[in-house]
């Protein structure tokens, strides 16, 4: 039964097109389900409006209340992250987080997923992911200085996976290369669980003087709302909702028309926006990302405690006959929304014209808290704006410890491999695409444009120097999904500490993180358990290391043929106090002493060795001791700052053996190593115990270095010295590895190119 006032209101807000279901029809035929809304959600929309929503309004609510925009499933968990710290200028909530780095400067960074679009069209999907994250950063007023990424794909033996991987990498490369932001780092993991559901997470880092920091808010009643950039087409409609659903067999049908990126347009937008920021014209700026015009405009109004009125006839359109629903929900790329003081439109237009960008005043800020949209003189939506943002439903779900977790408690893989030869094992692990050189990937990225890349891809973290300052920024993306699968809490912690360790090994103090939580369907209790545990682990580690979470992104429903491994990815940024501290992982000089820091335990659950020898993932992953981890990081950083350290490389996938080999790659050097241990050689060499690193130290500082480690209570063993050409390792006096570094390197460098070109004859 329709109440009288509902009917009256519904008359005032028009149906935009005869082809759309009317308000009553939506109610009677439950059309809200088509856009992913539940009956309860539909009920609250009615309550919020005090009448029946029309189709346009329903669309607006559906995207604003989707997981992608509202975080309805993850919000309660995200509250657990530490988000504060003395140097936090902007925490989660804006386009990207910002941290003070002294000298009046700040670093702005964020990571975001583009998993579903990549699964559908890998080149454009990955490329537009990069485009979106760049806009998030420059919409904060920051000049983007670096890009990173984190990739997950199925096995390269599958031709479809090779296609997806090849195209996604090419798309990432293309976008960043054209815009002229160096792609300086990242990671790639291959696992069958990503077969039909690859992950592409892109991170952007920017720098700005504090006073340039922008916000995405709509202020000042009467001020104009300006649209800039590409015209709106029908691309990516319902991308946000789509990203919040499982990819099923019918996704091919249901998928929205694919968004194509135009990095050239992005470059123009970037430069124009930087100019507007410098001219101090902007009151608010936000990019049109997920859920397009709707999300950006509604969020700006909600954050500004204002309202907004938009006239869709003024929105530049690429296609004809677009309905309000389509215009509002389109995810066409390379578009921004600006709010400026009334009367300054001319100044804005001048800058935009210079860069050849089209722009249009498409609406005004209002004071009545309504989100009102017109087309052809009719009101097609009229919604209390706060209900779109603040009243989005929140789902409090309950997790349930899965069976596999309990079963894994008493699996101890290391017991069976006693007879395996360590040298052979090393060759196999180096040939595993997870460990193998990623040069095939990063060679396609321009990692040197802007001439500030001091550490290029291939070392633990990338380092970018800052113009006019002695300071530099180190950055890394990390996450080991096998650890997270086996123990999400430990795996979550490991992602944070590994990222921090990478940054520390490069000479930086970790400042803070951004994260991307890639998980399966939260409606499955075991998936929700993974998510909750991982968030707890990450939070604990961040608290302990003093690295707040200043932004991130959640990507749920990553399921096609089964659920992906739970994959939280951490993007860490650290500050190098002086360029003199910049350190890389390669050995530098013959005769330098090699130290192993930290304790090695029999921890091979989820290890690369396990994967290579058993083709499976079982047991418990390495445990993280946060106290030990921070001690380790402290002494590495101190020793680097004292100028004692020639090279530093953290132990991660593949354990000590791989760490030693990688330290020798990229040079003509090798190492002679003697290990003493109570464990089996294979365990000693391939265990992935956390909180360890291999440093080479010049002989004159060796003693002081060992003293420092002892004083700090960090286990420190001098295990050998840097020599030429060969990697030889003895364990308890018995030869374990004896190889020419060149041969090992050929295996390590050849693995991915070979896998990508299985038909090549050479």
């Amino acid at each position: 039964m329709v109440r009288l006032e509902e009917r009256m209101m519904a008359d005032r807000v028009d149906r935009a097109s005869e082809n759309e279901p009317g308000p009553e029809e939506i109610r009677d035929r439950e059309c809200f389900r088509e856009v992913g809304l539940t009956a309860e959600e539909y009920g609250s929309i009615r309550d919020h409006l005090g009448r029946l929503p029309n189709w346009t309004e329903l669309g607006i609510y559906s995207v604003m209340w989707s997981e992608h925009c509202s975080y309805k499933n993850s919000k309660p968990l995200l509250k657990r992250f530490p988000v504060e710290g003395p140097h936090v200028l902007q925490g989660p909530g804006e386009g990207a987080g910002a941290l003070d780095i002294g000298d009046g400067q700040a670093v702005v960074f964020k990571i975001e997923s583009h998993n579903h679009p990549t699964a559908v069209e890998p080149f454009q999907g990955a490329a537009t992911g990069v485009g979106g994250i760049i806009r998030d950063v420059f919409s904060m007023g920051a000049r983007p200085v670096a890009l990173l990424n984190s990739l997950r794909f199925g096995s390269l033996s599958n031709p479809r996976v090779r296609y997806l991987f090849e195209q996604a990498v090419a798309g990432i490369a293309h976008y960043g290369n054209v815009v002229g932001i160096p792609t300086v780092g990242g990671e790639v993991e291959f696992d069958a669980s990503y077969e039909g559901n690859p992950l592409v997470n892109a991170m952007c880092v920017g720098v700005l003087p504090h006073e340039d920091l922008q916000k995405g808010i709509a202020q000042g009643v009467g001020n104009p709302v300006i649209y800039v950039g590409s015209s709106t087409g029908r691309d990516g409609i319902h991308g946000a909702t789509f990203a919040s659903e499982e990819l099923g067999e019918d996704s091919e049908e249901k998928r929205p028309s694919v968004q194509a990126g135009d990095p050239f347009m992005e470059k123009l937008l970037l430069e124009a926006c930087m100019e507007l920021v410098k001219k101090k014209i902007l009151l608010g700026i936000q990019d049109m990302g997920a859920a397009g015009l709707t999300c950006s405009s509604a969020e700006m109004a909600a954050k500004g405690n204002t309202g907004m009125e938009l006239d869709l006839d003024r929105v530049p359109q690429r296609e004809t006959g677009m309905t309000p629903y389509e215009i509002l929900l389109s995810e066409s790329q390379e578009r921004m929304l600006l709010v400026v003081e009334d009367g300054r439109e001319g100044e804005v237009r001048e800058v935009l014209d210079k860069w050849g960008l089209q722009s249009a005043v498409i609406g005004r800020v209002t004071g009545d808290g309504r989100y009102r949209v017109r087309q052809k003189g009719r009101i097609v939506a009229d919604i209390p704006v706060k209900t779109l943002v603040d009243d989005a439903p929140v789902c409090y779900r309950k997790g349930e410890e899965p069976e596999y977790y309990r079963v894994n408690a008493d699996r101890h893989p290391e017991e069976k491999w006693k007879e395996c030869d360590p040298g052979e094992a090393l060759r196999q692990v180096l040939a595993s695409p997870n460990v193998a050189s990623k040069r095939w990937v990063y060679q396609q990225y321009d990692h040197m444009v802007r001439t500030s890349t001091a550490v290029r891809p291939g070392s633990d973290a990338a380092v970018i120097v800052l113009d006019g300052l002695d300071k530099a920024l180190a950055m890394s993306t990390d996450g080991n999904s096998r650890y997270v699968y086996l123990d999400p809490r430990q795996g979550g912690m490991a992602a944070v500490v590994e990222a921090a360790r990478n940054v520390v090994c490069s000479g930086a103090r970790p400042l803070g993180i951004t994260d991307c939580l890639n998980f399966g369907s939260p409606e499955k209790p075991e998936v929700f358990w993974q998510l909750e545990e991982a968030v707890n682990g990450m939070s604990e580690a961040c608290r302990h290391l003093g690295t707040p979470v200043v932004g991130g992104n959640v990507s749920l429903y990553n399921e096609s043929k089964g659920t992906i491994h739970p994959t939280p990815v951490v993007g860490m940024v650290g500050l190098v106090e002086s360029r003199r501290h910049i350190t890389t992982q390669e050995f530098k000089r013959e005769g330098d002493r090699i130290f192993l820091l930290g304790e090695t335990l029999p921890e091979l659950g989820g290890s690369e060795l396990q994967l290579v020898l058993d083709q499976k993932v079982s047991g418990r992953p390495p445990r993280v001791d946060l106290e030990k981890e921070s001690q380790l990081q402290r002494i590495i950083l101190t020793a680097i700052q004292k100028g004692w350290v020639s090279s530093a490389h953290d132990c991660s996938s593949g354990g000590l053996a791989v760490t030693l080999a990688e330290s020798a790659f990229g040079t003509h050097l090798g190492a002679k190593v003697h290990l003493r241990t109570k464990w089996d050689p294979l365990v000693m060499l391939f265990s992935e115990s956390q909180s360890r690193a291999v440093l080479s130290v010049s002989p004159e500082h060796a003693e002081a270095f060992a003293g420092l480690a002892e004083a700090e209570g960090v286990l420190c063993a001098e295990i050998g010295e840097v020599c030429r050409e060969y990697l030889t390792v003895e364990v308890n006096g018995q030869p374990a590895i004896d190889a020419r570094v060149k041969d090992l390197r050929a295996i390590w460098e050849g693995a991915i190119p070979c896998a990508m070109n299985p038909f090549s004859t050479n």
């Binding site: 454009q124 028309s257 135009d262 050239f264």
Partner: protein
């Protein structure tokens, strides 16, 4: 021997930034009458196949499998006999 001439175009709903850029340049060069530009690919494939029917089927398969990306592109082709 057959020669297939394949034309691959972006679907009309997909943004063609290249076409837009070329249109812009044509305008500034004084070709103001240009209304729209769309850019695609053309491929000439020579096949050692004796039979037209077979050639047709094979080219169709190549297009679907490799040459065109059905998500954003559409294709058509014609066959000619001889060189």
């Amino acid at each position: 021997m057959y020669k297939a001439t394949i034309t691959i175009r972006l679907k009309t709903s997909v943004l063609d930034p290249q076409g837009n850029a070329v249109k812009g340049s044509l305008h500034s060069l004084g070709y103001g009458e240009v209304r729209d530009v769309r850019i695609g690919k053309t491929m000439e494939v020579w096949l050692d196949t004796p039979d037209a029917g077979e050639a047709e089927g094979r080219v169709e398969a190549m297009c679907r499998e490799l040459l065109a990306n059905p998500v954003i592109e559409e294709y058509e082709f014609r066959l000619e006999k001889g060189a």
